[in-house]
């Protein structure tokens, strides 16, 4: 069957958008798929309809708008609300919208699925009103919903950035409960000189912290031992320790943040090799400098190839597209190398801050190894205690844990619990191999599959 496209890109965030533009500008035929109703990814979500976008979101706003405008370039086909559930060996991309499945084919596929939040686990994290900060940001950007008197818990650049956005939007958080310790900062200091090329980003971070201080947001540092319970009025009561002292604070909504991790399900189900990133405590695909994976014709760029942030993602998307253009003979090797120089420099500069950030905001061990009563698998309601017990009873790997206590067997397919199950097993000295993922990576209705197999491959709507 003939390929309809030169390149299919899955994910219209900064990496996907810059790749689409680079490829189309060089005459390639591109199909860009995204699950959302509009382009932008999580960072530039719904950016075009933001009121006062610039004053709240800063320069993110302009960058995002420019990237979105360039999607009008000839040669880019856009499909939104398209959720990709399988990529097979022949690089058929199977996606579904409104319960109808479609197949698109190309010689090259680029995955730019971005990241998801690392879930922050403590007793009560499953209660209504406890959400990751990223979720609050989505509600703010796509629906103009601002959390009422939110308590922000955790640490990391995104936590402070959201605090600043809330202050600017007129919904200042009630408190910021920070897990940071001075020791973590001290340890990170030695990576500071190396981060100098990313000085602008560093200074931005300092300014955010000043803005939070100026807004007189109540701040607790060195916090640990979190638990949330529901009050009689369906508010949430967060109890914790700060600098060793017991504290309590009540609020309608609690927003957590504990770093982000690459979204890897689709890549893993397509057979891409992955590895464990010790510093960032997450698994990520093995890719070369261009984003090429072990599967020929399959590249990965942006946060789903390893957390780097929007600037890195933009550069990586461009680099992957240039390599794909070269592999498809749209440009020569020399042209690829010349065109990529700037992007490599840009990426190196943006990446230079990573070592500092990774050490300054290492995920806390306590949050990685939850107490026995804490739910680990939300879907099947499996606690950390049940997982530990299954190990005592002889489960000798993630798969056995899955089958005995059903952790990771629910509809989210382990996206939320897998990292925690792994850390718990490792702490019990159980060896864990890297997890496989199976397709469909999104639930697909049986009727949809039947309709798909009845239709010919060429039959599109």
């Amino acid at each position: 069957m003939a390929n309809e496209f030169d390149l299919i890109i899955v994910g219209a965030g900064p990496a996907g958008m810059s790749a689409a533009y680079t490829a189309a500008k060089n005459k390639a035929k591109v199909l860009l798929l995204d699950e959302q109703p509009y382009a932008g990814g999580q960072i530039f979500r719904n950016i075009e309809s933001q009121v006062n976008g610039e004053s709240i979101y800063g320069d993110e706003y302009e960058t995002g708008k420019a990237l979105i405008n360039r999607l009008g370039t000839q040669g880019i086909s856009l499909e939104f609300r398209a959720s990709v559930w399988r990529i097979d060996e022949a690089r058929n991309v199977l996606w579904s919208r409104d319960e109808v499945s479609h197949i698109s084919t190309a010689r090259h596929v680029l995955l730019t699925g971005g990241a998801q939040e690392r879930p922050m686990l403590f007793p009560g994290w499953t209660l209504p009103g406890v959400m990751p900060v990223g979720a609050a940001q989505i509600l703010m950007k796509s629906s103009g919903l601002l959390p009422r008197d939110a308590v922000l818990v955790g640490s990391g650049p995104l936590l402070y950035w959201v605090a600043v956005q809330l202050i600017r939007a007129g919904a200042p958080p009630k408190a910021l409960v920070d897990t940071q310790t001075p020791a973590m900062y001290l340890k990170a200091l030695k990576h500071l000189p190396q981060a100098l090329p990313a000085m602008v980003t560093l200074l931005k971070g300092v300014r955010y912290l000043q803005e939070i201080r100026a807004a007189k947001i109540k701040r607790f540092s060195r916090s640990s031992d979190f638990a949330v319970t529901e009050t009689d009025h369906n508010e949430l009561c967060l109890s914790f320790k700060s600098k060793g002292f017991a504290q309590q604070i009540t609020a309608p909504i609690i927003l957590t943040h504990h770093g982000i991790i690459p979204a890897t399900n689709l890549a893993r189900s397509a057979g891409v090799k992955h590895e464990w990133n010790e510093q960032q405590q997450c698994i990520q695909p093995v890719v070369d400098g261009w984003g090429q994976t072990n599967i020929s014709g399959l590249h990965i760029a942006g946060d789903s190839a390893g957390i780097g942030g929007a600037e890195v993602a933009q550069a990586s998307g461009q680099l992957a597209a240039l390599n794909i253009l070269c592999l498809s003979s749209y440009i020569s090797k020399l042209e690829r190398d010349t065109a990529s120089r700037k992007a490599f420099t840009k990426r190196r500069r943006a990446m230079s801050i990573r070592a500092f950030l990774d050490v300054a905001y290492t995920p806390l061990a306590e949050l990685q190894l939850p107490s026995n009563e804490t739910i680990v698998c939300r879907c099947e309601e499996v606690t950390a205690g049940e997982i530990r017990r299954s190990v005592e009873q002889g489960a000798d790997g993630p798969r056995q844990v899955k089958t005995t206590v059903r952790a990771g067997m629910g509809p989210c397919q382990g996206r939320l619990c897998d990292p925690t199950v792994r850390t718990i097993l490792a702490s019990c000295q159980v060896p864990t191999s890297l997890p496989n993922a199976r397709s469909p990576v999104k639930p697909v209705k049986l009727g949809e599959l039947a309709a798909l197999s009845n239709s010919t491959f060429h039959n599109h709507d």
Binding site: P37, L127, V130, P132, G134, A135, L139, A263, P411
Partner: protein, 107 residues
């Protein structure tokens, strides 16, 4: 008793979409996901698990599946991934729902 929304009331506009949540008329904004509309309306749970624990939308990006509700008769719909439409009938779910795609009938 219903719980007040955990989000601030939004400025009212002339553009809205009317739908029902468990039979109650609710006004949503164009572009809202079903989950956003439900969160703007009330701070209550969006579903209860098999063991009876309350849950609401968590990730808002299609990852966690904690926002499963019944939309126009279709159970187990990810509320954060579907946009509101005029006249939509939304119901909260109790426990496990039949996975079969089978409208269960609205009002």
């Amino acid at each position: 008793m219903s719980t007040a929304s955990r989000f601030k009331a939004r400025p009212s506009t002339n553009h809205f979409i009317s739908l029902t949540i468990d039979g109650q008329s609710v006004l949503a904004k164009p572009g809202d996901s079903v989950a956003a509309a439900m969160l703007a309306y009330s701070g209550d749970a969006m579903r209860h698990t098999v063991k009876g624990s309350p849950r609401a939308a968590y990730c808002m990006m299609g990852v966690c599946f904690d926002c499963l509700v019944e939309v126009d008769g279709y159970p187990n719909t990810q509320a954060c991934m579907v946009q509101v439409k005029e006249g939509m009938v939304i119901r909260r779910q109790q426990g496990l729902r039949k996975l079969k795609k089978e409208p269960t009938g609205g009002e």
